[in-house]
């Protein structure tokens, strides 16, 4: 099993440091934002989502001859437990992988958190929210938006990695060709990511729709039609 994130030595020291600063800032913002997403019930759920992302990342699936891919999980985590918490889920997974499993270089941790945590969540959750705004409020829409979010998040992540490589790569390589190859193979990986994400979100929606962060508006409309409309769960408690 060679589950490989960005190793040490791909990106030079200054750019690795800069990516580290971006990652630290991103995680700090996520820590502040996650407070609003987490309560006594969703905190353990978020821990389980992080554990699920770790498990799913071990499952490399074949995408082309001699090439595999695995879940990144940013879009999935953001949809299930919220974007801020989603960033933290991926960051915890990457930290454990780098420290215990020698997967993903320690000096590349900032690059990995930026590319696989921040970018996948920003792109994935952005696409997800955007689509839900125009789609009908059904479970099928949530599943479809999850698929689309995940499928876009993976090549998006690959593209940002290539941009980082363009600035701080340690080897002289034709960047256009690298970008094309990275996006090409990661579109295929994105389809796998999208299938896993859509199936997982749909499964949770089927048994406990109230636990899917990204489907909150949907669930409230379906379940609380008899009560006066309220702005949010916490506001309903306060205004009652």
């Amino acid at each position: 099993m060679t589950d490989v994130h960005v190793p040490d030595g791909f990106i030079n020291a200054p750019v690795s440091l800069a990516a580290g600063a971006v990652a630290v800032a991103g995680v700090a913002v996520a820590l502040r934002g996650a407070r609003r997403e987490l309560d006594d019930r969703t905190a353990p759920l978020a821990g389980l989502v992080a554990a699920f992302v770790f498990a799913a990342q071990m499952l490399n699936f074949p995408v082309a001859s001699g090439t595999s891919g695995h879940l990144l999980g940013g879009a999935l985590a953001a949809i299930l437990v919220g974007p801020y918490t989603g960033v933290l889920c991926v960051a915890v997974v990457l930290l454990v992988q780098a420290l215990l499993f020698a997967d993903g270089g320690l000096t590349a941790l900032g690059v990995n958190i930026t590319v696989m945590g921040l970018v996948t969540v920003l792109v994935g959750y952005g696409v997800f929210r955007g689509l839900l705004r125009v789609l009908p409020r059904t479970r099928a829409s949530v599943a479809g938006a999850s698929f689309a979010a995940a499928v876009v998040s993976v090549p998006g992540s690959a593209l940002v990695f290539t941009a980082i490589y363009a600035v701080g790569g340690t080897t002289e390589v034709p960047l256009g060709k690298v970008a094309a190859a990275m996006v090409g193979v990661h579109v295929l990986i994105g389809v796998g990511e999208a299938l896993i994400t859509a199936v997982t979100v749909s499964s949770v929606l089927a048994v406990r729709p109230d636990l899917v962060y990204g489907a909150r508006g949907l669930v409230r409309q379906l379940e609380l039609r008899t009560t006066p409309p309220t702005e949010s769960a916490s506001a309903s408690g306060a205004s009652a």
Partner: protein
Amino acid sequence: MTTKRFFAAFLLVSLVLAGIVSFYASAHPDGLEKVAEDKGFNAKERDHSMKDSPLADYGVKGVGDARLSGGLSGVIGVGVVLLAGGGLFWVVRRRGSSAPAAPAPSTASQDA
């Protein structure tokens, strides 16, 4: 499905994926690794500084059987991530607002 039962089922799925299904995962290089090989930008790749970790490369050092070694490392990883992540999220969470039945006049100000 009760919350407790749902959490247990979710954990069980993760344990089965990491502990059993992972053995059947593709051993081919992933997208990044493959492109790095093909285009030659892995020339300066260095060995991992944790390569002697007892769990390095998703195996448990000293366990000879590949299926057992990989599966065990996956189960340990799921446990560590759950404890680290769950612990972090438990500390970060907002307090005392999960019970909608309780009047929570302080919630709004806590949120700010």
